[in-house]
Amino acid sequence: MRGLVAGAILLVAVVLAVFFSVRYGAVHLSTHDVLQSLLGEGGATESFIVLEHLLPRALLGVLVGGGLALAGAVFQALLRNPLAEPYILGISGGAAAGAVLALALGLTSAVSWLLPGAAFAGALLAIALVFGVAISADRRLDVRVLLLSGVVVGAFFSACIALILALAEAEMVRSAVLWMMGSLAGATWRSVGVVAAYTLPACLLLLALARALNLMSIGEETASYLGTEVETVKRLAYGVASMVAAAGVAFAGVIGFVGLVIPHGVRLVMGSDHRILLPLSFLAGGAFLTLADLLARVLLSPAEIPIGVVTAFVGVPFFLVLLRRSLRA
């Protein structure tokens, strides 16, 4: 019951976040312009800005923020580690290496989807490498090895990035660094479609694993005695959550913080039952990132602050207050 109420509140928060993001995302639009455009009756220029720029950007924020928070919650349960986040297994390193390589080779101006494509390919390479190392001789997936190999593979890709950047021109270094700091500026309906195609089915699948994840967080042996097909659950959860993170990072760069702290925030308020934690993390992450993106655009307008800076500046104090409160309770 509490879960349903919180879910309804967060759903409203997501809708409001999308609306605010569209309404205040471009300074010169009025509420009237925005509503007319959304209803398909606005002027050509306004409609183009709202429908082709602001709306996809807000929706991409919901999907990426939600996906990162969801993936973070799943990794924390799977690795039984509160420090886990979506990028911990080398996904961000792989994606960034792919993106930086594409930028360095000058491929990205030729074809618009090449940058996210390269980032996604890099992330997949990292996922495959880490999985390959962590699968033992008797076909078991060892989550401790998963964690270690993920961190090491991430470090390797960071070294690759450093090498490419050291040899690159200054202008390219700047665009690479900006990409790595994360941004929703490149949002199009196509990117929204691709991320949705990964994220939404993944949400349903992970939700079906929620009870199994509850059991996994008390240990694999006990989970198995309580009826969980542990190896299947580990592979599914790792694979699906990784793909969600990979899709997000491919289209929005490396946006930190959301995947680590949103699940913990929800956990502190609502407890650790993944049937509640997973959907609420998705909604909270979606609303949070969309609003953070809005702030990134308007705070120092016309300059745009990197979205990761905003997620940390807003999220850290909020999280610390929650943490403090939970300690006193």
């Binding site: 924390q76 509850n214 240990g219 042996e221 006990t222 956990r267 650790s272 049937r275």
Partner: protein
């Protein structure tokens, strides 16, 4: 529910010695069956093999009418409740929350608990004397309270067999006797209980049959009188001891001798 192993051998790594070596045993329906042996004698490995979480190198482990590998995990969890030696929770959870997990094998991935599920949880909390603790976070429990919570979770599975690995290891006398009494009653009600334990004397007092393991092999198997023979126990434990009769309960009792006195006796 019965358990059986036939020449069961387990090896954890190809270059290591066998953790279990041709172990054959049979746990009859509705008995309290205690598995004894020194540290590293293969007790926990036997438990894992019976529950299908380690694969045999040779031989087989059977639960009921078929090899344990042919059970789906969920199906097995509805029939057998298990308490492993150690467990830790990664995130905060209440006592009731942990015990409710015992109902998971009876629920689908999304279906909520019914009145019947809640009744099973309440009955388990009651039987383990932790009803008053139901809303406490598991992290604040004493070792004994945590252990009783885990046993309650296994009871909440409403299983026809229980397998427990040293469930009373950290309990004081009162709670230890409480748990053993509870296991005894469960066996009398027809639930098969396999109990791995270090407490020889309590095993002698409460169990119907005993299995004594030494270095992964069966050193003795049978009734208490058949297994509690000083030469056998001394050899397995590598320590001098005497077997007498407990003056109060009347069951066989092992007293470890101190090394010096035994040497002077010889």
């Amino acid at each position: 529910m019965t358990f059986e192993t036939r020449s069961l051998s387990v090896r954890y790594r190809p270059d290591a010695a066998r953790a279990l070596d041709e172990v054959s045993m049979h746990v009859p329906d509705g008995t309290l069956y205690a598995v004894l042996g020194p540290n590293g004698s293969g007790k926990s490995t036997l438990m894992r093999a019976l529950l299908g979480t380690v694969k045999p190198e040779a031989g087989e482990a059977r639960v009921g009418d078929r090899p344990v590998g042919q059970w789906k995990r969920r199906e097995l969890a509805r029939a057998v409740g298990a308490v492993s030696q150690r467990e830790s929770t990664a995130f905060p959870i209440s006592v009731r929350g942990l015990v409710e997990m015992g109902r998971y094998p009876h629920l689908g991935p999304l279906r909520s608990m019914t009145g019947e599920d809640r009744a099973a949880v309440d009955a388990a909390l009651e039987r383990c004397l932790i009803r008053d603790l139901a809303d406490r976070p598991v992290g604040t429990l004493s070792g004994g309270e945590f252990q009783r919570t885990r046993i309650a979770r296994a009871l909440a599975q409403t299983p026809s067999a229980l397998v427990l690995d040293e469930p009373t290891a950290s309990l004081d006398i009162r709670h230890e006797m409480g748990i053993l009494g509870l296991l005894r009653r469960s066996a009398d009600e027809g639930v098969t209980v396999v109990l791995v334990t270090h407490h020889l004397n309590l095993a002698a007092r409460f169990a119907d049959r005993l299995l004594l393991l030494g270095e992964g092999r069966v050193a003795a198997e049978g009734t208490v009188a058949e297994v509690f023979r000083a030469p056998v126990l001394e050899k397995v434990y590598g320590w001098p001891l005497s077997v007498t009769r407990d003056p109060v309960s009347g069951s066989p009792m092992v007293t470890p001798l101190d090394d010096h006195s035994s040497r002077s006796r010889r």
